[in-house]
Subunit: 211 residues, 2 copies
DNA sequence: AACGAAAATTAACAGTGTTAACTTAACGGT
DNA sequence: ACCGTTAAGTTAACACTGTTAATTTTCGTT
């Protein structure tokens, strides 16, 4: 009932109020099961007022993902200070998996749910920024190992290595998130599967003396 | 307009008619974007007639997944006839990825979309059946390599190896399906990523003389 | 020919995301 | 102190969704 011309800051606060509450609901009930009206009721506004800040439900979802991508990059950033490049790579993989399994529903939104491709203008996240881009962080860590001479001599494509390491860790986490409850497969403990994957990848990538 | 008391066979035919058309639509437009009315119109019936054969949309989806799991197992079965166990393992991974990328939306339904855990009664699929259970097939292939002495001497858990190989291939395919269009990452070609993953896994698993 | 049951249909319901039309409140200029 | 202008927020409404209830159509059997 009380419309006030809001300052830039108040607008931003309302935006994050929507984002935070929408995320809570999405994460606990799944995206499709949550209605705009439900989100609105939770913050004491009308459903249509959300549309004053987000074009549609998809845009809201993307905004949530954006903040979560940032959160992931922030979480992983401290790992970059580990001095030894190989230890850094190992810890990076562990940190990534830890994030995925600690926030499985965030992770599902970020990496397992189809949405419109990244759009530089409407995102707010900066690509190739070590503070905001977790893939860039990974690529840097891989590059460091390469420059330290850690990889086998026939490996030269840091992007390819990064993408493969990522895929390996993602595969373990994604199957865990989707199929952990399913007893069609007699799953080995998740931490065992994670270290197995990591050892396999490293033993394929690193020179023998580093294994 | 013409209702006839149907024989058991005609009922089954109608069921698969629904399944096949629903799958086509799900696969080309995504599950959420397809309506029951649309499926019905496509086969020339009214929306409600679908409910005479399936409890709801979720049940229809599950039925589709069931037939797709069977299709995957059938597709992979011929690979099992390759004589050399290691070549068999390699071809199995390739065949799996080929299926995933040829039918990305089937694959998404099967392995990337959360649904109720497998239920033995309502499924119709037989676990540990080499004709119907692709995971069982993979485990068998891994077991064969193990018994042929192909793996490194400290590897003894066939389930763990199978689950890790699966996760590796799944990771590459899943990221491809979800993020191929996204230019946040400068993706290497998908076939390069797949062979890279496979080589990495194999070089970590196999004795050196087999690489 | 008439009945009963199966098969299919139409009508309707409670919700959904979203848009249009309308209200309220705060500000700037006179 | 007043009056527009404008932004913020609301309610009403639309087209559509999955799904259920009520209704019609058709057929095999008596």
């Amino acid at each position: 009932m009380p419309p006030k011309p809001k300052t830039k800051l108040a607008r931003e606060q309302f935006r994050t109020l929507i984002i935070d509450n929408a995320r809570d609901l999405f994460v606990s009930k799944g995206v499709e099961a949550v209605t705009m009206r439900e989100i609105a009721k939770r913050i004491g506004y009308s459903a249509t007022s959300i549309y004053l800040h987000f074009a549609d439900k998809e845009a809201l979802l993307r905004a949530i993902c954006d903040t979560d991508f940032l959160k992931l990059a922030t979480t992983l950033k401290e790992i970059l200070s580990i001095p030894d490049p190989i230890q850094r790579l190992i810890a990076f993989g562990e940190g990534y998996a830890k994030f995925a399994l600690a926030f499985p529903n965030h992770y599902r939104l970020m990496f397992m749910t189809p949405h419109l491709p990244y759009n530089a203008e409407c995102s707010g996240l900066q690509q190739n920024n070590a503070e905001q881009d977790a893939y860039f962080q990974l690529k840097t860590v891989v590059q460091d190992v390469y420059e330290a001479g850690g990889f086998k001599t026939d490996l030269h494509d840091a992007d390819l290595i990064a993408q493969t390491v990522w895929a390996g860790m993602h595969g373990v986490c994604a199957l865990q998130i989707i199929m952990a409850e399913d007893d069609w497969v007699q799953w080995r403990p998740i931490d065992v599967r994670l270290t197995m994957m990591q050892q396999l990848l490293l033993s394929g990538l690193l020179k023998e003396k580093y294994e």
